[in-house]
Structure formats: C-alpha cells, structure tokens
C-alpha cells in the first residue's frame, strides 16, 4: 500500500543554520506533496506544497525539493530560528483520493 515516511524522527540544529528535513514516499501516482508544521499544543499548519510536475518550489525561508526518480521529498529551512522548533510532516495525495496521507513526522529542535 501507499506510505509516506521520514528518515529521522528528531533533527537538532543550531540557530542560524539551515535545516533539511527529508521524506520518502512509495506511491508513484502521487500528484501533490505538502509540508505541515505542528507546534506544541496546536494543530498542523500548512507550510508549502509542490506538484509532481515540479522539482523545486520556494517560499519564505523554505524550499521544497522533489526527486521523483528516487521518490524523495525534502524541506529546507534557511537561517533556522527558535520559532521553527516543531514537528514537521510531509503528506501526499493523488488524483481520486480526497484526503491526505501523512508521514510519521520529524521533530526539529533549534538550539540557541
């Protein structure tokens, strides 16, 4: 069946460094890939998405890279700040599916 997974459960970075959070997926039919951020005590919040016909998309301090050949997705956060500390989820969906399939999440810890 389809699955969306993450390489590391926890990532610790120094404030000001760049962060890279990775995600692997298995469904070749995936059309959209999305990153969500969940801060402690809150629901997940949309960060950025990318369609399967793209390999890179940039937002404010974030970049998502998609490598369909190896079914790999990454979220890059530039100049990581304490407010970036959270759990990050990748998710995917595809034509015919009306909801998202989420990965298990990576906890990003930003050290001062």
């Amino acid at each position: 069946g389809e699955s969306v997974g993450l390489h590391l459960p926890t990532l610790s970075v120094q404030e000001g460094d760049n962060s890279i959070i990775n995600c692997a997926y298995s469904n070749s039919a995936s059309d959209y890939f999305i990153w969500y951020k969940q801060e402690s005590g809150k629901g997940p919040q949309f960060i950025i998405d990318i369609r399967s016909n793209m390999d890179k998309r940039q937002g404010q301090r974030v970049t998502v890279l998609l490598n369909k050949t190896v079914k790999h997705l990454s979220l890059q956060i530039a100049a990581t700040q304490p407010g970036d500390s959270a759990v990050y989820f990748c998710a995917e969906t595809h034509t015919g599916r009306r909801a998202l399939t989420f990965g298990s999440g990576t906890r990003l810890q930003v050290q001062p």
């Binding site: 629901g43 997940p44 949309f46 009306r98 909801a99 989420f102």
Partner: protein, 115 residues
C-alpha cells in the same frame, strides 16, 4: 483567518461509553476531515465529508462514525469507546478545488483518554 474549533481540548471517558467529538469551521468549507494522531504514526484519516450529509470512510474507520447535518459542523462518534481509541483527534477543513484537501486548516485537537 479560518478558524476550526474543536469543542474540547481534553476528554476522559470510560470504556463502553458513546463519545461525541464536535468540530465547527467558520469559512464555509465544503470538505471536512477527522484524523487521529499517535506517536510515530503521524496522522491517520478516520472519515471525511465533502458535503452536507455526505461522508466517506478513511483509512481507519472501524469503531467510529460521523455526522454532518450542517455545513459548518462535523462530528466524530465513538460508538463504544475502547482503550485503543485513546489518542489525539484532529479535525480539519478545506475549500473545494484542492486535490485531497491540500491546504487543510486544522483545529487544536482533542486529547481523548479512555479508561
């Protein structure tokens, strides 16, 4: 701002009880979702609804049902609560036209403990 409100932050219920989790959104979204979140498993879809009185099973619907009598309200029902339903429950909504509810707006979650 879109607001998705879940009626309770914390609930403690006894095994066998019928439990109602309520969710209300204020942005007139067609799509609404219920997920459960467990450590190491991410978010798993229980049920979703794409219109009033319409519902579809998600990936783990067993032991749950839903109700959507009004567009803004989506209720999750645990027919007979069991300890393995102890979890964080998250409600979300999204506007139409987004594949799979790409940009979903989530409530703050209800942490349910079944004892």
């Amino acid at each position: 701002d879109v607001k998705v409100t879940q009626s309770s932050r914390y609930l403690v219920k006894r095994t066998g009880e019928k439990v109602f989790l309520e969710c209300v959104q204020d942005m007139d979204h067609e799509n609404m979702f219920w997920y459960r979140q467990d450590p190491g498993l991410g978010l798993r879809l229980i049920y979703f609804s794409y219109d009033v009185k319409m519902k579809e099973k998600g990936d783990i619907p067993e032991g749950y049902s839903v109700s959507r009598e009004k567009k803004e309200r989506f209720s999750l029902i645990l027919e007979s609560a069991s300890t393995n339903q102890t979890s964080m429950y998250l409600c979300a909504s999204s506007p139409p036209g987004q594949p799979g509810g790409t940009e979903a707006f989530f409530g703050q979650g209800t942490r349910l403990t079944v004892v």
